[in-house]
């Protein structure tokens, strides 16, 4: 039989959430529609309509304004206005009018609600809960494609089972070595009955026993690594790889219900799949020349592209990329130390910005700094550290991490300072927040030790964190700074709607999506005295400390994940086409669903920014 009103049916069928309805429902849906025409300038929803309806713009355009007249969004062909069918209005209340002569399809809210009850997919889309919609956005984006690397998101339990040698803490090192040799394993679990005490590896025996001249009859407890980091059979392979890279370890005991069931080694993971980050990290550790490092680093975009198709989360991909950047940095430092000799005093090599936050996408600018012990004496030490900084920085540049345009690098004498010098820097930034200092905040309030003396950095942090937390003026300036990058209002046809009278041709995912959330997380963390620098970790820590409402925190986390995934996918597509990766997405490349989800993420960011504006009275600072 011919489907009546097929144009209307097809028009609805092509867009979410109607595309989630089965044919039978879709075919009968047009019958419940009424069609209205709204002339340019008239109020929307039409004032002469009785009852509540969901509106679909069939042609024309609707402009929405806040009560103070500010443009808050526009609806064009195919877009939905659902406010009247929702218990809670998501956006700010306001007024709307037809900006062009518009043809509207009206669907009674009762019909929509009934469909939502019988078809949960459909209902979820129109849900009142922004929370639910954002969670769906992330799920939809991650599940989209599968590829060879999809197996990285399988649990460790999928790896071939490998038992481990179990030894007691009082067993001799010699007997442990004999059993490891017999079973051809490079590590053993040190157990007290059923309790895991530590891990013993070939390397421990070499470094802490043979090299030190320790008696092989001594108990293994003397040289084991106590209280090791463990994983479970459910831990994802990619997370295990990232964990090893981050902690610079090669063995992870696997515990099920607290009981050791095996051991996963770095070799297992590199063998498991070539092309994963563990493989590259292992290659980097073996590289003997800058040329070789540059060669390995050139594979980074391809790794990012493959990970993007693997169903991994943005953070997992960020961790994998960061593992490689860190490994490169450490290898460059090791090569430099081999050239220059060991460092004359204790120091820490710090990464700043996105590397510190573990949020890099393949090749970004390098931001780094040197933190030296207070034993620093310019006359005798300056030559060494400026040579070290030069060599590592040049090496990173050769590997594709180009010099920081703002010169925030260890080669800049300002950023190569003893602990006391860094304290003075931070005191100045916190006590006299100037535009330049605030610009540097995204680099120098996001620092992480990549190599060297962690205690030095802990000292610096314990100086900085209470001061930044307690200085209200500094925090207020940081809040104002966190409001400089605003999300767009939404989309209008093929444009990004920025605000009244301004359109962009492309969506800058970085500055209009990711940076605002990163800035918010930094502000919240610093105002709560939290030391984490990763955006997700900051938001979670703020939520758990009560510095950020649970709902808002979860929404920001999902918004961040969704935009970051979109960026990774966008860049993966560019890498596949052989063009340089960037952050600019033309709205035409986004699906209807992605546009809708993006609008939700913009709403979350805007909501948080408005909250900050009120809380910190930032209007007075600008």
């Amino acid at each position: 039989m011919e489907i009546e009103l097929i144009e209307i049916r097809d028009f609805l069928a092509a867009r979410p959430p109607f595309d989630r309805l089965p044919d039978a429902q879709l075919n009968s849906l047009p019958r419940s529609i009424q069609v209205r025409y709204l002339r340019r300038g008239r109020d929307f929803p039409p004032t002469d309509v009785d009852g509540s309806f969901l509106y679909v713009v069939r042609s024309g355009a609707i402009a929405c304004h806040a009560l103070d007249g500010r443009l808050t969004g526009k609806l064009a062909e195919g877009e939905l206005y659902t406010d009247a069918c929702q218990l809670v209005t998501l956006g700010p209340r306001g007024r709307a009018h037809a900006e062009e002569d518009s043809l509207l399809y009206l669907l009674p809210c009762d019909t929509i609600k009934r469909l939502g009850e019988t078809h949960p997919d459909f209902g979820a889309y129109l849900s009142d809960s922004l929370r639910q919609r954002l969670r769906q956005a992330v799920a939809d984006t991650r599940n989209e494609d599968g590829s060879v690397l999809a197996s990285l998101t399988l649990p460790i339990a999928q790896l071939p089972a490998r038992d481990a040698v179990r030894i007691g803490p009082d067993d001799s090192i010699r007997s442990a070595a004999q059993r490891m040799t017999a079973q051809r394993l490079s590590s053993a679990l040190v157990m007290d009955q059923e309790r895991l005490l530590g891990v013993l590896t070939d390397r421990d025996i070499r470094h802490r026993c043979v090299a030190e001249g320790l008696d092989p009859n001594a108990p293994v407890a003397r040289i084991m690594t106590p209280d090791p980091t463990t994983i479970t059979p459910q831990t994802l392979i990619i997370d295990a790889i990232n964990l090893m890279s981050r902690l610079q370890i090669h063995h992870l005991p696997v515990l099920a219900n607290g009981q050791p069931v095996g051991m996963v080694t770095a070799t297992d993971l590199t063998r498991y799949q070539s092309g994963n980050s563990a493989y590259l990290v292992a290659d980097i550790a073996k590289a003997e020349s800058l040329a070789r490092l540059a060669e390995i680093s050139a594979q980074l975009p391809d790794l990012q592209r493959q990970l993007a198709g693997s169903g991994a989360s943005a953070q997992q991909i960020g961790d994998a990329i960061c593992a490689i950047t860190d490994a490169l940095t450490r290898r460059l430092i090791a090569l430099a130390e081999a050239d220059l000799g060991p460092a004359p005093i204790a120091y820490a090599w710090l990464a700043g910005g996105s590397q510190a936050r573990r949020e890099q996408t393949s090749h970004s600018d390098q931001d780094n700094a040197l933190l030296l012990s207070d034993a620093y004496d310019p006359a005798s030490h300056d030559g060494y550290f400026s040579a070290l900084a030069r060599q590592v920085s040049d090496g990173l540049d050769a590997c594709g991490f180009v010099y920081c345009p703002g010169n925030a690098m260890a080669t800049n004498p300002d950023w190569c300072q003893p602990l006391s010098g860094w304290r003075r820097h931070f005191d100045r930034w916190i006590d006299r927040p100037e535009p330049k200092a605030l610009m540097l905040a995204s680099i120098f309030f996001d620092l992480r030790v990549v190599h060297g003396d962690r205690a030095l950095f802990s000292d610096l942090q314990s100086h900085v964190l209470p001061r930044s937390r307690d200085n209200r003026i500094f925090i207020a300036h940081l809040a104002a700074n966190a409001l400089t990058h605003r999300p767009p209002l939404g989309f209008f046809r093929t444009f990004v709607l920025v605000h009244d009278g301004e359109h962009d041709d492309t969506l800058d995912l970085k500055h209009r999506g990711i940076v605002p959330i990163t800035d918010i997380a930094r502000l919240l963390a610093l105002s709560a005295g939290i030391g984490a620098v990763n955006t997700r970790e900051r938001l979670i820590a703020c939520r758990d400390a009560g510095a950020l409402g649970r709902e808002m925190a979860d929404n920001l986390l999902d918004a961040h994940e969704f935009i970051a995934l979109l960026r990774i996918r966008h860049q993966a597509a560019q890498i596949r086409r052989g063009i340089p990766a960037d952050n600019f997405v033309p709205p035409g490349d986004l699906s209807e669903l992605e546009r809708d989800y993006l609008k939700d993420t913009f709403k979350v960011i805007r909501g948080m920014q408005e909250l900050l504006e009120t809380r910190y009275q930032t209007g007075r600072l600008r």
Partner: protein, 231 residues
């Protein structure tokens, strides 16, 4: 209604038809008084109707399909949509089958005219016929009524083509021959493109065009029937 109207124009034609008509749905329709010209269009029920036929001559040609949809309170209510294929007694000429995409087989599956017309008349009763280039629809329906009930169809009518022509002339716009076609007028008002030559699609297209024309003629929404009725 002025006293003069009783003896001239549509009202006189209605009275005359009412005297001729046999009892039935046409009688009931003709018994309805002519609507007041001052009545607000939003308070009237409009029946947008399109007929696809084997040709343009109501005597020789016959109806292939009829589509209609009603406008109430200036909203097109799609639940009122009706689409009916009619049974052909003679094979359909080739070219018209191509235009309407209805084959002889499907036509034979349709209903006889005598069964379809009563429902159409019931819908039209007390309402206003709305059509684009309305004399075609009026001609075919009236011929059918004459055959079935012995009287012509006299029904208040709005013709979107005539309305558009008048509007453009009043604005001193040049009216080219093809610019008054349904498709072209819709694109002038930036209404979406529909599949042409399906009776229901065209009826809906006509209904939407009327809403656009009405908003253009009387932007404040207080359009009166006298501003748009053919007579």
């Amino acid at each position: 209604m002025s006293w003069l109207d009783r003896f001239t124009g549509p009202e006189r034609a209605r009275q005359r038809a009412l005297r001729q008509v046999r009892p039935g749905p046409l009688h009931d329709l003709l018994a309805q008084p002519w609507p007041e010209r001052t009545r607000l269009a939003r308070n009237a029920r409009l029946i947008a109707l399109d007929i696809e036929a084997t040709g343009l001559d109501p005597i020789k040609d016959h109806i292939v399909s009829i589509g209609l949809v009603e406008i109430v309170d200036m909203a097109v209510l799609l639940e009122t949509a009706l689409y009916q294929v009619l049974r052909a007694d003679t094979p359909m000429p080739q070219d018209s089958a191509v235009i309407h995409q209805i084959t002889d087989d499907r036509c034979r599956a349709g209903l006889p005219l005598a069964q379809v017309i009563p429902e159409i008349l019931q819908r039209l009763q007390g309402g206003i016929l709305l059509a684009h280039h309305a004399w075609v629809e009026q001609g075919f329906l009236s011929t059918a009524c004459q055959r079935l009930y012995g009287a012509p169809l006299v029904v208040p009518t709005i013709d979107t083509q005539a309305l558009a022509q008048r509007l453009m002339r009043n604005r001193n716009q040049f009216v080219a021959g093809t610019s008054l076609r349904l498709f072209n007028l819709r694109s002038y008002y930036r209404l979406p493109r529909y599949r042409a030559h399906n009776a229901l699609s065209d009826a809906l297209a006509t209904a939407e065009l009327f809403l656009a024309l009405a908003a253009d003629i009387q932007p404040d929404g207080d359009l009166r029937l006298g501003q748009v009725l053919m007579h």
